[in-house]
Symmetry: C2
Subunit: 323 residues, 2 copies
């Protein structure tokens, strides 16, 4: 995607009616005890309160609304570690389309069951997201269906609607921290925040166990990297060019946190907000703990992007110890 | 409270502006995999998505809005196992009042910290809610403050606003299952549901380890009972007369479930909805599992009344095993 194709605030506004036809606004809550712990005025954007438990559902609905009748009849093909697939399955059901979703072997069973519960056909293929994606892309071409990439522009514009909600609810927000998988969320936040108030600092976060997007942003070139995080929502091995272009234009910083810090953040969120976060969903909180000195006294929004943590993982994290 | 003082749908409608001045509607979501498991069309009313993690905040806001300036200046005194106290603390902060809240010794530490975070003064007294309540009631009288009982009529009318949301979102609901502590929630649901469509079945649920409200309803007289449940939100030893009167007029059934069944329901909700429920919040789900035959094929709403489970309890429940 060239720079001039970067979506605008107007594109995000256009997505709103498609999103709110099926979804409600999610809450932005201030948590006094978590704020005291971090030393900043901490607000959580609760995208885990979405019907599929993750922010991505906004994008799928905007994408589906903008398809031609022919494309809708052809059906949607995509790959996912779980939440993007649930988004496409949700949108497909809303618009009466067939969804076929490739997931890597060993995918989060709760997310798989949820996709199937929404009526999608789920196919297991390959060891990771990128392998599954290449495979289903070929199948979509063979069957003349619509392949949906995880960073397609209508998805970015759809998910960006949560950023508008943040700006409406907390106009004087100073910092927004966003987890990055393929980058649709952080791009949506950047486009909205920087269009409305360029002084708002947007900070991305990824696991140091899967830093492909962070390294690519830092070096200004596409870099593949190891992909060893437990947090499948931010487990990207191959970076995405269009989201990288947007991030290079708008993003203020991109930090890495350890998987251990993410797991501690899951416990912090359980203790202080009583919300279940998946790894990706807790990454912004882990970053806030790490950046506490820099955030001191500021109004900070942490995007809790999703809550679909597998029960086995929760059990393991609780057994390891409590912060 | 005499029968003719039972709140009406009009009273609930009057509470709405006071509630929505500070809160948003909560979602009512359909969960396909949980529905398949129970064999009914299962919807969850997500009162755990409230800013304090529980439905009670609606009641506190309606109560505070209806106080005289003199009463507001005198400050509020109440007793709570946690969520009612958070509701009063939240409302006190919103209206610039002082809140003093007695909790039993050993109260849920997360709930206590949240009350303090909202600016309330928290005092520990006695072994259970009822002991703390009698003590703080005396203190309120001595200090000429406003004592708030857990079933005061403005609280019932405030919490009843979630029932109106259920009826708006799912007009053809057939069964609503509601956990009972002091009874404000189930009374709110009953008043709304029976006023709009008397055919809607309202079923209450309590733990068999703390059955005072159920026994009192069943026998038509006020009965105290043992209070041994882990679920502090439904841990009532002494029944409440005004909510009993409403329940006798409207309620269709009142079932008991075991604490073990409630703990299994917490795991079911984690697995199928990725929401953390406290014991009271999972009781309706436990009842639905127990009543599955009777609910077969019906549109059923389970009220997830609150999510403030202590981390230690979650750890214990996960260690016990998964359904």
């Amino acid at each position: 995607m060239s720079e001039d194709k970067i979506p605008t605030l107007q594109d995000v506004l256009s997505a709103r009616p498609h999103v709110y036809r099926y979804l409600s606004r999610t809450p932005l809550y201030h948590y006094p005890t978590l704020s005291r712990l971090i030393g900043a005025e901490v607000w959580i954007k609760h995208e885990n309160h979405q019907p599929i438990g993750a922010f991505k559902v906004r994008g799928g609905l905007n994408l589906a609304a903008n398809l031609s009748p022919q494309a809708r009849a052809a059906g949607l093909f995509t790959a996912s570690t779980g939440n993007h697939g649930q988004s496409i399955a949700f949108a497909a059901r809303a618009y009466g389309m067939q969804a076929t979703i490739a997931v890597p072997e060993g995918a989060n069973p709760g997310k798989v069951a949820a996709m199937q519960g929404l009526g999608a056909q789920v196919l297991f293929h390959g060891r990771d997201f990128d392998t599954a994606r290449e495979w289903i892309q070929t199948m979509a071409a063979e069957r003349q269906g619509v392949f949906v990439g995880p960073t397609d522009t209508p998805l970015i514009c759809g998910v960006a609607t949560y950023a508008l909600e943040i700006l409406e609810d907390l106009p004087d927000v100073e910092v927004i921290i966003v987890p990055v998988g393929a980058g649709s969320g952080v791009c949506g936040v950047s486009i909205v925040a920087k269009s409305i108030n360029p002084k708002i600092e947007v900070i991305a976060v990824q696991s140091e166990a899967a830093p492909a997007m962070q390294l690519s942003w830092q070096r200004g070139m596409m870099v593949q990297a190891k992909m060893e995080t437990f947090a499948e929502g931010i487990a990207t091995r191959v970076p995405f060019a269009n989201t990288q272009a947007i991030m290079r234009r708008y993003l203020d910083d991109f930090v890495l946190v350890s998987d251990a810090a993410i797991q501690e953040a899951i416990l912090l969120l359980l203790r202080h907000t009583h919300n279940l976060a998946e790894g990706a969903g807790a990454a912004a909180t882990a970053a806030a703990v790490q950046l506490a000195g820099r955030l001191a006294g500021k109004k900070v929004v942490l995007v809790l992007s999703g809550g679909n943590l597998a029960l086995g993982q929760l059990q393991m994290i609780l057994a390891k110890g409590q912060p």
